[in-house]
Structures are given as C-alpha cells and as structure tokens.
Symmetry: C4
Subunit: 211 residues, 4 copies
C-alpha cells in the first residue's frame, strides 16, 4: 500500500491494537507472536514489525522496528525477532500483502498437532470461510499448508517460500505445534482472515472430538 | 413497534451495543453476523440494519442502513448484506418482531453440524428455556428448525419462509454450519433469546460428548 | 448482619457488582439468576433482592426490591421473582446467612445433569475446597445436595428446606439442569463459595471426560 | 534484584497488576493463589507478599505484607498465608529469583490429576516452550515436578526443597490438584513462565482427549 503519513500512522496503530487484542484473547502468550505492516514510499518499501521478546499486551507504535525489505534496520532499537525473515518471505511471495499476523493459539496448536506429518489442514463446508478474501461459498475447500517446525530459520524460510509458491490461494500457513501465519492487504483484512481461521480451527478440533 | 424519536434512537443504540457485545464474545467473527431493528412510523415501517462487511466490534448507529420493507435503501451508503432478504422474510412472517440478531458461534456451528440432515434441533429439560418468550416450564421442548446452507439466497428465503410457517412457536432458526437467526419484540427480547439459545447449544454439544 | 446505613449501602452495591460480574462471565444469561442480601435493623430483618426478568448485566441498587422475611414488599416496584421463596427458605434455615447467589452456568447445568437422580454431587481431593467456610483440608468431601427441578415452587421450597435440614454442612444446593444456590455471611463470603464451587464443577465435568 | 525506590514501587505494582490479571482469567478463584516479589536492600532482602484470604481481583500495594527472609513481618497488618513458607523455600533454592506466582487454574488442576502418582509432568515439542528462560528449541523436554498435596506445610516445604534441588532446570512446580508455583528474575519473567506453562497445560489436557 502507498500510504500518506496520516494513513500510515493509522495503519501502524491498528497493527498495535490488533496485537494487544490478540494478547487479550490468549493468542500471543509469553511474548510470543509477531506482527508487521508494509508500506510503500515511492519505489521504497518499509516494514514496521514487533521486536523480539516484547509483551504483546502492551505494544505501541514506539515499540516497532522499522526495517527495509532485506530486513535491515532503518529505525528502532529493539532486537528483530528470529521470525522476521518469515515475514520477508511472505511479503516477497505475495506482493499485494500489506500486513502479517503471527499468533500462537491453543486451537491452532492442537489442529497442527492433529495433522502432524500431513501437507495441509483441509477445511470445508462452513459459511465463515467467506471471511477469507475471494471465497464466495461455504463449499470452498481451504487447504492451510502445514510446515514441520524447526529452529533452523533458513530451512523454515525455504519451506515457507515453497508452500507459498505451490499454494497461491492459501490465506494462511501453519507451523506445526508452533502457530499460524496469516496476512492481508491491510491490517483489517489480515485480522479478518485471522478471526475466520481461528474460529474454524476451534470448530474443527472440537468436532473431531476428544477436546 | 411504534416508537418516538428518542425511543427509536435508544433502540438503534441498543442494537449496536448488542452487535459489539456479540463481537466481544466471539459470536460475530471476521465481519460475520448481521443485526436489525424495525420501527413503525405511522403506516410505514422502516428497518435499520448493519451493512455488509463491517467489523461488528465497531458498529455505531451511523453505520446502519435504513431500508423499507422491500429492502430499498432509504438512507446510508453501505452495501446491504446478501442476508438482508432473510431479515425481511422474518419481519413479514412475524409481525410482532421488532429486532433480529444473526450470529456465527462455535457452539451453534457445532450443533447444526451434529444434526446435519435433520429438520430441527430439539432441546428440552432445562430451566433456561424459560428465557424464551411464552415458555413457562423446563419441560418445554424447543424445536429449532435447521435449514441446509446454500449460497442461493432466493432458495434460502423460501426455505426460511416455509419453516417459519410450519413452526409458529420457534424462537430461532439455524442455518447448517452457518449460524443462528433469532428475534424478539425488542432488542432486549431478541438478546434474551440469543443468550438462552446459545447457552443451550453449548450445554447440549458438551453433554453429547467429544467436545 | 446488623449494619449501619453506610455499611448497608456498601453491601447492596457489592451484591449488584457481583450480579454484573456473574453476567459478564455468562453465569446469569437471558435474565436468569437472582441475588439477595439480608440485613438486620434491630429485631426486624430486611431483604434486598433482584426483581424478576431483569438483565443481570445492568443491576444497580435502585433495581432491587426490599422485602420482609415473609416476602412482603417494603419498597421497590418490580415483580418479585418466583424464586424469592427459595431465598426465604435458605435465610430461615441458615440464620447466619447474609447473602444468597443463584446462578445458571454451563458447568453447574452439566454436572447436575450428570448426577441426575442422585441425591448429591460429591467433590473431594481439591485444594480449592478450602475456599468453602470451615473447610481446612483438600481431603474434605463436599456433598452438594441435588434437587430435581419442578415449576411447583411450593414443592421446591419443601425439598430445599428438607435438604438444608439434612445437610447442615452444605455450602450450596443444585437444582437439576437449572442452577446453583450458594450463600455466605456476607456478599464476599457467598461469592467466594460461588467461585470455589463453579471452579470445581468445571474441573469435575472436564475430568469425567467427554466435555 | 537490587532496586531503587522507584523501581521497587514499579515492581510491586506490576506484581499486583499480575495478581488482578490472574483473577480476571479465573486463575485465582475464591481468594486462592499468592504472589510475591523479593528485593535487595544492601545485604538485606525484603519480600512483599499477598496476605491470606484476600480477593486477588482487588490487590493493591497497600495490601501486601513486607517480610524478611525468615518470614518475620516487617510491615503490614494482614495474616501471612500458610503458603508463605513455600515462597521462602523457592527464594532460598533459587538465589536469582525476584518474583513468585502461585495460581489455581482449571488446566493445571486437571493435568496434575492426570499425572497423579508420577514425579513430573513432561511437556515437549511445542514452540511456546521457548517462553521459558534458557529454552531455545521446541525439542526441549520440560519436566514440571509434581508434589502430592498435603496440609502439612512442613512436609510440603521439605518436598519442595527436595524437588528444586533435584530439578535445577525446572521453571515451575505443580502441587497435585492444588496449583502451580512458577518464578522468574522479575515479575515480567515469572509472568512469561506462567503464561507459557498454563498454555501448555491446556493444550496437553485437551490433546489427551476427554476434556
């Protein structure tokens, strides 16, 4: 998005509000999760992203790091999260993306564990799928790609790049027993995707029983 | 309801407060759900309804569309939701209805899935049933009609008209893996029905086990 | 309790705050639940109780009915709840009681259904039992008497009187698929009992599986 | 921690805010739970701890007791909790600890019941484990020592001292069907551990099914 100064500030504030809201729902416990927006400034693109180790219940715009598309710091003194590279992969693979939300929730952790070893989590038949951009029917089958977790972030980056290439329609990616990445053209879009996917993860895990 | 200006404004504000409250409980995620009131102005009736795609956590009276009984816009610039027609069906079939609430919740999604293919979800034996207008005993059997979901809203409208005609005592209707419609003479009545039905859906799904 | 005017007002305000808090937790949905305090004024005793049909999320002292020990209205214009008689039974059977809380929760509804036909719900082995007045060990067995629900309030009153007589140590009574009555010397005591019992109901139902 | 006056007041306020937050989540019901910080004042160490029987939803710095390392009161008029001795054991065994949080939650109660008779609850494979100090991979196996509950606090103190000695890497200890003790160098660290462990307890109990 090419945003004027005021619109940029609003979008950054919306990102922080969304991070605090996620924390309040228990979706970013123990300083987990990270959140970013991308803005265009002429030919240049700038990213604002939450730093490592920050309590997401207290995020304000002043906490955010400003980085360029290679992940080099432009402003801000915090330490970039190890997962910053994953944000960069998504922004490169999805040029229209303006915001990325990454959360650790009980239900996305459970569903990614349930499907361990599979390539994706399939979800179909629910009206709320229409909360995902471009989906116009409950008969849509959403396949959420599932990547095995690792602490080797270069491996994780390659895998992520790979699944994004192979799943051009995906609205999110799960890291196994780790969390969800979802995105959108704006913070509002990304948050709508987050709410839809998390609702569906909870419904599916409960439907499958035992939880 | 025939309401004076002040009473009308209060009722519209109560509708918005109820929408925001539903969002806060996770009952209208990802811009889902829609909410309306009907007011009489002499022989004319006017409806105020939430527009399509609005985040229900932020609804204020200024967001609402004002439409007539055929669904024609009287005021407001948002896009009417595809489900506006379902509101109109209910208002026609239930002349005493002054407010309609439509929500997507984990528990109504699960119970509608459990009873897939059945004509209704039966609920009996609970004291909280007395929260439904006209119900005076826990021994009452509430049959919540269940309609198969479709993206063809003219089909959905006919089916809804049909089940309302056949179930004159119903306090709500479920769309399969989609959500609940409930209503009442006022926003307060509709909200009481909503709270009672959602409580019962949760209890019943948990009682049946596995969730 | 013999209370001065200021202490009385505080206790009444605490009762209302507790009712609103219960509503916020989903423990008094659809205008269900009722709440009372008893105060001594010389030889006379006065009760303040929530009226029938009131949204418990909005209770303020001005909403409360003031009644005497026979249930006759002293002040207030609302309609006494049909369950006012049950409050009177408890106040008579437990002379030290200063406050009574009655709530409809998912977990007390489920546990009362699980033990349908039994005389009580037994709970033992939990540290939180020490939140109940007089209990000093987790090894304590709390037997929560269980009464079959009926709309005949004179039958319900007799049964309640009976179980209170037979269970002098009980801190609460369950009505089957209806709700919990609990009490204490003050609103704070009654609320402590409520929190302890509801925590235990949830743990027990989850422990027994399937929910 | 050696803290100046202002830093000390902030840390005490953070402790109280954390206690109120725990209450809000249902993690300290019925006046359960207790919370403390330790501060260094030259060679002397002082502890601030919540008193017995206090509603944790209302804790402010003025409520806290100030005690020395032997548990002798320095200031404050409340009654020290019976569990104060357990705090002292942890502070002695973990010299770097600046804050201790003790909570009673539905999920820690359930998981401690599930593993009754075992020496510890093992948790592995989750990214959120990295919320625990010093843990750098989801492959880490966290063993949360489990102590059988008893009302004999001298027995409990010895057992606690014993498991802390044998498990130098532990970030928390469970008392069976009672609650969790966790700690950290600061309130923020202890809270991060609390959030990570409680998230994992919920995920594990739900994963094992039946709840």
């Amino acid at each position: 998005m090419a945003l004027g100064r005021e619109a940029l500030e609003s979008e950054v504030e919306r990102l922080c509000a969304t991070a605090r809201w996620c924390y309040g729902r228990g979706w970013a416990p123990a300083t987990s999760g990270n959140f970013s927006v991308r803005v265009s400034d002429g030919p240049t693109q700038r990213l604002f992203i939450t730093p490592s180790g920050l309590d997401k219940g207290t995020v304000t715009p002043a906490h955010l790091l400003e980085i360029d598309q290679e992940g080099q710091a432009l402003k801000g003194s915090g330490k970039p999260s190890a997962e910053t590279g994953l944000h960069l992969v998504i922004y490169r693979a999805r040029p229209e993306t303006g915001a990325i939300l990454h959360v650790h929730t009980v239900w996305n952790t459970l569903i990614s564990g349930r499907y361990a070893g599979k390539e994706f989590v399939p979800i179909a038949g629910y009206e709320i799928l229409k909360g995902l951009a471009g989906v116009i029917s409950h008969e849509h089958v959403e396949r959420v790609p599932l990547i095995e977790n690792t602490q080797d972030y270069s491996v994780l980056s390659s895998k992520l790049e790979d699944v994004l290439g192979k799943n051009p329609e995906a609205h999110g990616v799960l890291l196994s027993r780790h969390g969800l990445y979802t995105w959108g053209q704006s913070v509002a879009d990304a948050r709508r995707h987050l709410e839809a996917l998390e609702f569906l993860f909870e419904v599916e895990v409960r439907r499958m029983g035992g939880q």
